[in-house]
């Protein structure tokens, strides 16, 4: 079955739109079920965590990357390989602490909010993309890296860019003991 190349691009786009639309419907449903924003946020985070612990297997199988030797390599891997593979965007990575365990991923284009114009007034503290934080946290946990992941800036709330902050909680020396 031969298809013109243009159609294939469209199909990829539609698959991604399916995911984005499904995510939107999920958030809308959660907003209906829970009144408080914190509940919705924590629910999204929990779901993201479960997705992350499974997604890491898929990621490692598809990308066959070598072991990361430092936190900054890990952050780069997440930004340049994982985000590109699953969401089609490449955030830029900056290190925001001299100790080398805090990083920021800056997304100027967030595909999850493609169809969202703005948050409704009564949901001002909703973290729409909290799922992403959960996913990153869950995935890192599965490779034995404890981390805290939060949104530092969010375009939906009026900030210029979307910024995700990753703080690794354990020291780099512990990793010497791990063998593949």
């Amino acid at each position: 079955m031969s298809r013109p190349a243009g159609r294939k691009q469209e199909n990829h786009k539609i698959s991604r739109e399916l995911f984005v639309l499904t995510y939107g419907a999920l958030v809308a449903q959660l907003c209906k079920d829970y009144e408080k924003d914190e509940d919705v946020n924590s629910c999204l985070d929990r779901m993201g965590h479960s997705i992350g612990v499974r997604l890491i297997d898929d990621f490692l199988a598809r990308s066959a990357v070598k072991k990361c030797r430092s936190y900054s390599e890990t952050a780069e891997m997440i930004a340049q390989v994982a985000f590109k593979m699953y969401l089609g965007v490449t955030p830029s990575v900056t290190c925001s602490s001299p100790a080398g365990n805090e990083f920021s991923l800056i997304l100027d284009k967030n595909p999850l909010v493609d169809f969202v114009e703005e948050l409704p007034a009564e949901r001002a503290s909703l973290c729409y993309c909290n799922l992403l934080c959960g996913v990153i946290r869950g995935a890192l946990e599965m490779v034995h890296l404890a981390a805290e992941v939060t949104f530092l800036q969010d375009r939906l709330k009026g900030d210029p860019v979307t910024e995700i902050g990753i703080t690794f909680l354990r020291k780099a020396e512990d990793r010497k003991h791990k063998r593949n």
């Binding site: 990829h12 499904t22 995510y23 997705i51």
Partner: protein, 150 residues
């Protein structure tokens, strides 16, 4: 493509999450299925709009069903529907022998009682798509042996 894995995982999480919440609350299974179906409905409406932006007008109902079986199903589930039957009086049966959302669950009769949960979203998806194409419908699903479903 990698997007598939993401959608599969998200879908499974949604089903699990909604049912977990229901268990802690009133414990009404029927409501969860309705919620999943209505989510699928919203997504189906939006998706079919984006998808049929540039395609030609459909001649009749059968044409629409064929579109759903071929193009729509291929884009969403990366394969076509294996069998389409109709009685030409408004009832269509779409059979998929290797339904993507069920392949990971089991390959036979195990966990059969959980299968309907995973089909609710897709039923809503089809109903939403058809509704935006101008057809009012009722969509039900039947699983006799995973991963095939009708």
């Amino acid at each position: 493509m990698a997007d598939e894995a993401l959608f599969l995982l998200l879908h499974n999480e949604m089903v699990a999450g909604l049912y977990r919440a229901a268990e802690q609350g009133e414990g009404e299974n029927g409501r969860c299925t309705t919620k999943l179906e209505s989510m699928g409905f919203r997504v189906g409406q939006g998706l079919i709009e984006r998808f049929t932006k540039d395609t030609a007008r459909f001649k009749d109902e059968l044409d629409i069903m064929k579109f759903i079986c071929k193009d729509f199903w291929t884009t969403v589930f990366k394969k076509q529907i294996d069998n389409l039957r109709t009685n030409h009086q408004g009832i269509y049966v779409l059979q998929d022998n290797k339904f993507r959302l069920l392949t990971q669950i089991s390959a036979g009769k195990q966990y059969l009682e959980h299968a309907p949960k995973y089909l609710a979203f897709t039923c809503g998806l089809i109903r939403g798509g058809l509704s935006n194409l101008g057809i009012k419908s009722i969509v039900t699903a039947e699983v006799s042996s995973m991963p095939a479903c009708k």
